[in-house]
Subunit: 505 residues, 2 copies
C-alpha cells in the first residue's frame, strides 16, 4: 500500500519532534497528541499570526476564561441538551463507535448525522453494519453527551464539565467586557484556549482530537447598524463559495466571487461575517495554503448548530480531501438570550432604545491549522524531505554551522550564533556530521536559512548563507548580516538579495 | 476595617479587566479567575520573560503535553497515593474544609500538614475547632485525593485525571526528548500549561486557584558530572537563604550569601539547582520585585514532597507576608525510576557505563507571578492609582491622545497611532474625557508612555510624551519617535532622553 502524505507527515513529525501520540509509554490513548520543541514553537507562531490578522485592534478584547465550568453554564448554553453524538456499542467486544461514521464508511453517504436518530438507526440496520473490529452485532444507537464530566471540589463536589469550545467563556463575560469596551458596540471578545471533547472513537490523529486548542472570537454588533468599518481591506478579495442554495441543488462546484459581491448578492448574510471570511482567507494563505486550495462551504439548515442562522466552513484541500479549518457562524442573538436569566442581554442605542446584540464568530482549530501548514509545506525533492514553512512561522529561523569542528571554526561560529540569538532570532547551532547532513536536517525541520562558517571566513570576514527552498548559496560579509537578515525575515529581501551568489560545481 | 493592599488590587483588577472571579453571573465559583484583555496580555508578557530567562537556549526543549492523563500515569508517579489533603466536613451544614488550615488559623501554628494525619486529628480535637461558618461539630479528618477525575471516552470510558502539575508530561516523554536532544546530557524539557487542583476549600483568590498555569522545566544531568556550564552568569549574585539546618534550629532570619558560596558551603546540593536559583532571582527581579523582597526558604524533610532531596521555595514579600512563587526541587532519579517499568530510565556514559539521570526542577506558578507583579507595581499617589509595571511587561506600551476631538487633532493622532501599531507597539487610542482623566486611566492600567497631539503639533511637527512613573512631560519631534521609543522600551533611554522637558505651571 503506498504511503499517504498523511503517513509521511506523521512519521516526520514524530522523528523530528513536531508532534507525536501522547502516553506512548503507557500504550497510547487516541485523541491526544504531544507537541515537541519545534512543534510547540510552530504552534505558537501560528497563534501569533492569528493575532496579527484578527485581534490586534482596539475594541477586540482578548480574555482567558476557565476550562472547567459549572454545569449551569452548559445548561443555559444548550450544550447539555445538544452536545451529543450517536453511539453504538458492539454486543460482542463492547467497543463503541459513532453510528453515523460507520454508516458513512460503509455507504459513502455524507453528513449522516444531520438525518437524525431514526434515520441513523434504520440505516444501520438496512446496511447490516457490524462491528468493524470483531464483526459482532451492534446495539441500536443512543445519543451520548460528549463532554468530559468532573466535579468541582474534592469533597461534596458540584457537577462540572470541561468546555468543548471557548465561546461560552466570552458570552458569560459579555457584560463585564462591554464595560471594559466602554459600553460601545461593535466590539469583540477573543480567546485562545484548550478545549476537550470526549469523542466516542476518535481517529485520524491531528484532525480529530479529544484535547485541542481553539482560537476564536465573538464580535457583537447592532443588527440595525451591521456595517463593518474595515470592509475595504477585503472587499475585492476573490473567494470560492459553495452556498446553501447550491448544496440544496446538489451543486458542489464552488462559485468564484468577491467578499463585496457575495455580500451584495446576499450569499453572506451580514457584513462582519463577510469581513472575517475575507480575513480568514488571508490568514490561511499566510500559513502557506494557496487560495486555490481554499473554499467556503455553507451548512444546510439541518446541519447547522442550533444557534446559527448561517455557517460557512472554511476548508483547506489536503491530499485526502477537504478539511474544515474554521467555522464562520452568524449566531444572531441566540447566545446572549441563552444566558439572559443570569445576565442582562440588552444594551442601549443612542436613541434610547435597547437591543440584544447579534454575534458573528470566526473560530479556528489551531491543531488543524498546524497540520495543514505542515502538509502544505511538505516537499519531497530527490531523497530529501523539505518543509517549506513560511519564514514568519518557522520554529527555527537560522541554523549556524562551522564547516568543520577543527581549526578554530567553531569559535567563530559560536560567536555568530550568540550574536544572532542576542538579536532575537530563533537559532540552532549545529556542528555534528557532514555539512550536507546538517543542511538536510535544516531542510527537514523547515529552517529557512543556514549560515556556514568556513576556512575563508577568517580572511574575507564573510559567511555562506544557504536557503532551504532553492538551495541557493550566497556569500555575505558578517557585518552585513543584521541588515540582510532583518530584510529577509520581514519579507523585503530574497536569498539572492542577501549576498553574491556562489556557483557550485 | 482598613482596606488591605490585596483588596485594593483585587478591586482595581476587576474594574480595569486585569482579572476577576469567574462565573460571576452564575453565582461565582471559588478557585477560578478570568483574565480580561490587559490581564491576558500581561500574563503572556510574563510568560515571554520566563522564556527569555530560562528556555531560550539550545538543548532546552519546550513541549506541550495533554492536560488530561490516563490514571496509569499518576499511579506510576505516586500522585494517586500522595496527592491528598486532610479534609474535615461539618456534620451540621455539610461544608468541607482543609483540617490543617483550620488548625493553623486557630492556633497560629505553621505547616501543620507536615505533622501527619494523627497529629491533625488530635489538634482538631484538642483545640475544639468547630465549623467556621455554622459553628457545628466537625468530623474526624480524612485524606482526600485532590485531583479532578474524569473519564476518557464518552461510552465505556477509562478513568483519567487532569494533571495537577505539568512535570509528568516531561518525565513520560523523557525518552523521546532525549532522542531529539541527540542523546546528550545535560538537556532540559520545559513546559507551560494549565493544571487543575481540586482544592477542598480554596480562599485568597489569585494565590490558591483550582485552575491555574504552571511554567516549569526539568533539567536532566549526570550525577557524576553535575556541573553547570553557565554558572558564571550568576555565581556572584547575592541571595538570601533560610536553610534546612536553620529551620531545624528555629532560625528564620535568612543568611546573605552568593550562589557560588552557597554551593561551596553545601547549602545548595547541586550546581544546576544553584544556577536556576540565581536565574530565578533575576527573573523575579525583572517583574519588579526588588531583591530585598525575595528569599529562598528550604523545606524540612517532613515538609518536602516525596520525590525531593532538597527543595527551596522562592518567596516574595507581599503586604500580608511571604508568598511562594517558585519551587526549586532536586528530584534526583525519583521520577525516571517511577516510570521505569514503562520507559527505559538509563542513558549511556561515554565510558560505556549506564546511569539514571538526576533532575532539578525550577517551577513557577504564573498566576501568582501575575499577582506579585501587580502588588509590587502598585502605588497610590494622591488620589491616583499607578501601576508601575516594568515597561517590558506592560499590557499597553503607549497611549495616544488627541488633546481635543476638534480642529483636526484626531486625524493626526490616529495617524500616529496607526504608525506605532504598524511598528509593533501595543497601543491604545483614547479620545474620551479630559486629558487629565486619560492620563489617569493610563496610569491605573500601567501604560508607561502617553503621547499627546495638541494645537502646536501642526506647527512644530512634535508631540508631548508623558511618562507614568514621574509624570514628566517632554516635547519630541514626530520624526524622532521611532528611534526614541525603541530606545525607551529597550531600556537604553529614560523619559528625559526622549525630548526637551516641558516645565509645567
Amino acid at each position: 500500500m503506498p504511503q499517504t502524505l498523511y503517513d509521511t507527515i506523521t512519521a516526520l513529525a514524530k522523528r523530528r519532534g513536531l508532534y507525536y501520540p501522547s502516553f506512548e509509554i503507557y500504550g497510547g490513548q487516541s485523541g491526544f497528541v504531544t507537541y515537541g520543541d519545534p512543534g510547540t514553537k510552530l504552534k505558537r507562531n501560528i497563534e501569533t499570526q492569528w493575532r496579527t490578522h484578527f485581534t490586534n485592534r482596539q475594541n477586540i478584547l482578548e480574555i482567558e476564561a476557565p476550562l472547567i465550568n459549572p454545569a449551569k453554564v452548559f445548561e443555559a448554553s444548550g450544550h447539555i441538551d445538544n452536545f451529543k453524538e450517536h453511539s453504538t456499542t458492539c454486543t460482542q467486544c463492547n467497543r463503541s463507535y459513532r453510528a453515523d461514521h460507520l454508516i458513512e464508511e460503509k455507504t459513502g453517504l455524507e453528513n449522516v448525522e444531520a438525518q437524525g436518530a431514526e434515520a441513523i438507526q434504520s440505516l444501520l440496520r438496512e446496511h447490516k453494519i457490524k462491528c468493524p473490529r470483531c464483526g459482532g452485532p451492534l446495539q441500536d444507537p443512543t445519543l451520548i453527551l460528549t463532554m468530559f464530566q468532573t466535579e468541582i471540589g474534592a469533597v461534596n463536589g458540584e457537577t462540572a464539565y470541561a468546555r468543548p469550545e471557548t465561546a461560552q467563556g466570552m458570552f458569560t463575560n459579555f457584560r463585564r467586557a462591554y464595560l471594559h469596551a466602554r459600553e460601545k458596540l461593535p466590539f469583540a471578545i477573543a480567546q485562545k484556549g484548550k478545549v476537550l471533547r470526549n469523542e466516542i472513537s476518535p481517529r485520524r490523529g491531528m484532525t480529530r482530537l479529544r484535547e485541542f486548542t481553539i482560537i476564536e472570537m465573538e464580535l457583537f454588533f447592532d443588527p440595525e447598524n451591521p456595517d463593518c468599518p474595515y470592509m475595504d481591506e477585503v472587499a475585492d478579495q476573490p473567494v470560492k463559495l459553495i452556498t446553501e442554495k447550491m448544496l440544496e441543488e446538489g451543486n458542489t462546484e464552488p462559485i468564484e466571487t468577491t467578499i463585496h459581491q457575495a455580500l451584495q448578492d446576499n450569499l453572506i448574510l451580514t457584513p462582519w461575517q463577510a469581513y472575517f471570511m475575507g480575513v480568514s482567507q488571508r490568514f490561511i494563505t499566510s500559513l502557506g495554503v494557496p487560495p486555490e486550495k481554499q473554499r467556503f462551504r455553507a451548512h444546510l439548515p439541518d446541519e447547522r448548530a442550533h444557534y446559527s442562522a448561517q455557517t460557512y466552513d472554511h476548508e483547506a484541500l489536503l491530499e485526502w480531501g477537504w478539511l474544515e479549518v474554521a467555522g464562520h457562524a452568524y449566531r444572531t442573538d441566540y447566545d446572549l438570550k441563552a444566558h439572559a436569566e443570569a445576565q442582562e442581554p440588552t444594551v442601549l442605542r443612542q436613541d434610547g432604545t435597547r437591543y440584544v446584540p447579534h454575534v458573528v464568530e470566526p473560530s479556528f482549530g489551531l491543531d488543524r491549522l498546524f497540520y495543514v501548514t505542515l502538509e502544505n509545506a511538505y516537499e519531497r525533492r530527490g531523497k530529501r524531505n523539505i518543509l517549506r514553512i513560511p519564514r514568519s512561522l518557522a520554529p527555527t529561523q537560522i541554523q549556524v554551522n562551522p564547516l568543520v569542528t577543527r581549526d578554530g571554526l567553531t569559535g567563530k561560529a559560536r560567536e555568530i550564533h550568540a550574536a544572532l540569538q542576542e538579536a532575537g532570532y530563533t537559532t540552532q547551532y549545529d556542528e555534528s556530521g557532514s555539512i550536507g547532513r546538517r543542511y538536510a536536517r535544516a531542510d527537514e525541520i523547515g529552517t529557512p536559512l543556514s549560515i556556514t562558517i568556513d576556512y575563508d571566513t577568517q580572511d574575507d570576514q564573510a559567511v555562506t548563507i544557504r536557503d532551504r527552498d532553492t538551495w541557493t548559496q550566497v556569500r555575505t560579509p558578517i557585518q552585513e548580516l543584521p541588515d540582510k537578515l532583518q530584510g529577509y525575515f520581514s519579507g523585503r529581501l530574497e536569498i539572492l538579495d542577501l549576498g553574491e551568489k556562489i556557483e557550485r560545481d
